[in-house]
């Protein structure tokens, strides 16, 4: 138990209540079976979840994602050939090319949304899950890390970048021969795994562990 402040009797009382994040309606906590979830009875948002094997499954998926993301960033995602000249490009090449050709705005946007935010998010999540999984001491920093990993979610845009790559392919297919590189496929798998993480990551369970309520 690492709860810092507050009256004990008040806290146990509050722990049996949950407010809907979508409409603020108070509900009594229900004891959920594994795999069950509870919805708000006014607006229908999910208010409680209990996903089975969440730590093992999400840790495995997060570690796989980190490897795949690094691969996707360094290997070429597109190669282009025309009249015997061939060139291929990775995400990091793309960022560098934009930066050194005075398109700094675009370089920074790409770097932030495709490289920095997704990678930071996965590393934070991986650190928190790793320490929980291997029964290390729960540190206060882990709560901050988990909180930030949730906040970064909408700003990590790897899947949108993928669609952008496909559209670019179509747009200049008449001008040159384009081929998808290895990174294209690893990005595709990465998107599938990030959907899987959303399915198996149980925020309720992790908050309960991090705050010592379980």
């Amino acid at each position: 138990m690492t709860i810092a402040a507050g009256k004990p009797e008040e806290q146990t009382d509050l722990n049996h209540l949950v407010a809907c994040p979508g409409c603020d309606l108070l509900h009594h906590c229900r004891t959920l079976e594994k795999g069950e979830y509870a919805r708000c009875r006014r607006c229908g948002d999910v208010i409680q979840t209990r996903k089975p094997h969440t730590i093992d499954r999400s840790l495995a998926a997060v570690l796989a994602s980190i490897v795949l993301l690094l691969v996707s960033l360094c290997l070429p995602f597109l190669s282009l050939s025309r009249a015997g000249i061939a060139s291929s490009i990775s995400v990091l090449d793309a960022v560098a090319a934009l930066w050194f050709n005075h398109m700094r705005w675009l370089a920074l946007l790409t770097l932030a949304f495709i490289v920095l935010l997704p990678l930071t998010r996965l590393l934070l999540l991986g650190w928190v899950l790793w320490r929980i999984r291997f029964k290390r001491k729960i540190r206060r920093g882990m709560r901050t890390a988990f909180r930030w990993s949730i906040r970064m979610e909408p700003w990590a845009m790897a899947e949108i970048f993928m669609v952008g790559v496909v559209v670019s392919l179509v747009k200049i297919s008449t001008l040159a021969n384009l081929h998808t590189g290895l990174a294209f496929w690893s990005l595709l798998i990465l998107i599938a795994i990030s959907c899987y993480i959303n399915l198996v990551l149980c925020k309720d369970t992790i908050w309960a562990i991090l705050t010592g309520k379980r």
Binding site: A5, R42, C43, L80, A97, L106, F146, P154, M157, G164
Partner: protein, 208 residues
Amino acid sequence: MGDSDWQALSARQSGLKACTSCGALQPLADHEPCRDCGAAVHSRRTNSLQRVWAFLIVGVMAYFPANIYPIMKTRSFTGNTTDTILSGVVVLIQSGSYVVALIIFVASICIPVLKFLIIAGLALSLQHDWDISTHNRHRLHAVTEFIGRWSMIDVFVVAVLAALIQLGAIMTIIPGVGINAFAASVIFTMLAASSLDPRLLWDHSNDD
């Protein structure tokens, strides 16, 4: 969920406020950060509507130059062309890539305009107590938060093409100011959507 012994009260009406990041409850009068996760806890997001309007106005203002100025300039052997968002869609249709044309049309034109209208409508409905089903407004808010980020497709298309062509040395593609304005528009509209606290929608609601 049939716990009918429980009166329908919001956390705020019960003198409590919930942390938006971890869900922990604390008394309304408590000004400390959340004791469980350390986030600042507000019963309703501070100045929610002012922030929504500020971000939305910047987003809408940036959308005009985004459509007027070119997003991409192409120089090749066959001549120079400039593309705006709309002319990019037209070129795709002419070359027969109907699916891609549709994707870009939806992501760069439909979604941003719909988002402006929905966010403005939600904010006005709150300020003027419009009698619209709260369930529908809640759903609209959830949808706008979810789809907004997909508008970034065009930004990444320009980034990929510009970077690729720099390396290819076949022709040059230079991003126009339009794409910067467009990226700013998308980002500010995302901020506007996330500034709107959905719990406000239910505060004056008669729905159950």
